[in-house]
């Protein structure tokens, strides 16, 4: 599944007298299954995946996923978010607080009049089982731990059968121990479902774990696109890691 993005987005940061505006120019493409967008906070990473998901409209540009054009300002194409089949993992998970774990997970399977078919119930059950959430099926999100919330959010996104999974700083809110465990879980889930994913992060450890393709943002533009998987295959893990550190190193000094 090839994802190609070429967009201009007008960004506003700050408020009042400290407000400033800059134009984000993001252009990259990759056919790799796992892509990481790396950059300091405020560099436009979130905005980029919001644009892919259809949650915000770029000034101009084109976004294509596989053979489908999701957005093309020149042709007037702008698919609404609900038709993009894009899974989005929000930073705070955005679980529906009034729905149980099972109802959150099965949200996308319910269509008017919002009954869950027997087959749908089975799929929700199997997904909860896979994520080790079966015991919590009737709990509300507020009673879950951070890791459990992320699993519910993942299960909910995957049951919609997305063509790409976008993850907004998925481990930023976790302590180090949990972070490591959830990285392993996400890797296993991705390999099982073979769903392409885009992770945005400012954590080098995420880059090491998830980047087949690495896109580095700096000064509101793509500074570099690094084909990590190809480098890894050619130069080995250590060589790729050195290249990643080298490429990412300048970002924070410059920002």
């Amino acid at each position: 599944m090839k994802l190609s993005v070429d967009i201009d987005v007008r960004l506003r940061t700050g408020r009042g007298r400290r407000a400033r505006e800059f134009l984000l120019r993001a252009a990259f493409e990759s056919a790799d299954e796992r892509m990481v967008i790396f950059g300091p906070s405020g560099s436009g990473k979130s905005v980029t995946i919001q644009a892919i998901a259809g949650l915000m409209r770029p000034e101009r540009g084109r976004i294509a996923l596989g053979g489908r054009v999701l957005f093309d300002s020149a042709c007037g194409i702008d698919l609404p978010a609900r038709e993009r089949r894009v899974g989005y993992l929000f930073q705070d998970y955005a679980l529906f607080p009034h729905l149980t774990v099972a109802d959150n997970a099965g949200y996308a399977l319910r269509r008017w009049p919002w009954r869950l078919s027997a087959e749908g119930r089975e799929r929700v059950g199997a997904m909860l089982e896979l994520f080790g959430l079966s015991m919590l099926a009737d709990s509300l999100p507020r009673d879950l731990s951070g890791g459990q919330r992320q699993r519910v959010a993942l299960a909910r996104a995957l049951l919609h059968e997305p063509e790409v999974l976008l993850l907004d700083e998925p481990f930023a809110a976790m302590d180090l121990l949990l972070r490591g465990r959830m990285r392993d879980e996400l890797t296993a889930i991705q390999e099982r479902f073979r769903v392409p994913m885009v992770v945005i992060t400012h954590d080098l450890e995420d880059v090491r774990t998830f980047a087949d393709t690495l896109v580095i943002y700096r000064h509101g533009a793509v500074a570099e696109t690094l084909p990590c998987k190809a480098i890894r295959d050619r130069e080995g893990e250590a060589g790729a890691w050195a290249r990643i550190q080298n490429a990412c190193g300048g970002v924070f000094d410059a920002a």
Binding site: A53, L55, A81, Y88, A94, A157, H160
Partner: protein, 222 residues
């Protein structure tokens, strides 16, 4: 204590205030949603106008209604000719008066409740394939339900107690447009203290119940 003649105003009051509350609920939630989500010029002014029935003397409101829907009002003749609806001195007129005074209570509370709903949750629903109506009915409205319901109960209480505007547009016709609050006024004017006592106790009991339930609904959970 209460004879058959007293139950007629109660039945009429319930019919009028239930219908009025329903109208206020649908209209109030719909407008609250627009106000909570859409920025448009004149929003604050329109908000003030929609809230006006809450602070204006009911007689002033009644007068406005006569000007608009009265027999010689702006819309009155048209409503009569086109739909056969007559609002002056009918119970339908009482519904209109009660709906308008009850409306701001639903509108205000629904707007506050809708503005409290985390926009991220609606965006999440969209990425999960929900159409805009589905987002509203499955996510936004359920999350705003408690505040909206509390406002609706207050609106119902307000509709039950409506007097001034109702008197001016629907009059005080026993058995036809005489609601409880008008019946109390009549009983006192006629010196029938026993009847007034009974009616007053009845209204008070209903209102206390509504207030208790609505404060329960508004109390923080857990």
């Amino acid at each position: 204590m209460l004879d058959a003649a007293d139950w007629a105003p109660l039945a009429l009051t319930l019919k009028v205030s239930l219908l009025a509350t329903l109208i206020a609920l649908v209209g109030g939630v719909a407008l609250a949603f627009v106000f909570a989500r859409v920025r448009f010029p004149g929003r604050d002014t329109l908000d003030a106008i929609l809230t006006l029935p809450m602070v204006m003397p009911p007689t002033v409101l009644g007068y406005y209604l006569i000007v608009v829907v009265g027999r010689k009002g702006w819309l009155g003749p048209w409503l009569d000719d086109t739909f056969g609806i007559q609002l002056m001195f009918t119970w339908q007129g009482a519904v209109l008066a009660a709906a308008i005074v009850a409306f701001p209570l639903v509108f205000k509370s629904a707007r506050a409740a809708l503005e409290d709903v985390e926009p991220t949750l609606e965006r999440a629903a969209r990425t999960l394939g929900s159409t805009e109506p589905a987002v509203f009915f499955r996510v936004t409205l359920p999350l705003a339900a408690r505040g909206t319901l509390a406002g609706t109960l207050l609106a119902f209480a307000r509709a039950m107690g409506e007097f001034g505007a109702t008197l001016m547009i629907a009059g005080n016709l026993p058995g036809r447009t005489q609601t409880l609050s008008l019946a109390v006024y009549d009983a006192v004017q006629a010196g029938d203290e026993a009847r007034a006592d009974a009616l007053v106790l009845l209204i008070s009991a209903v209102c206390v119940t509504i207030l208790v339930v609505s404060s329960r609904l508004l109390a923080p959970r857990r």
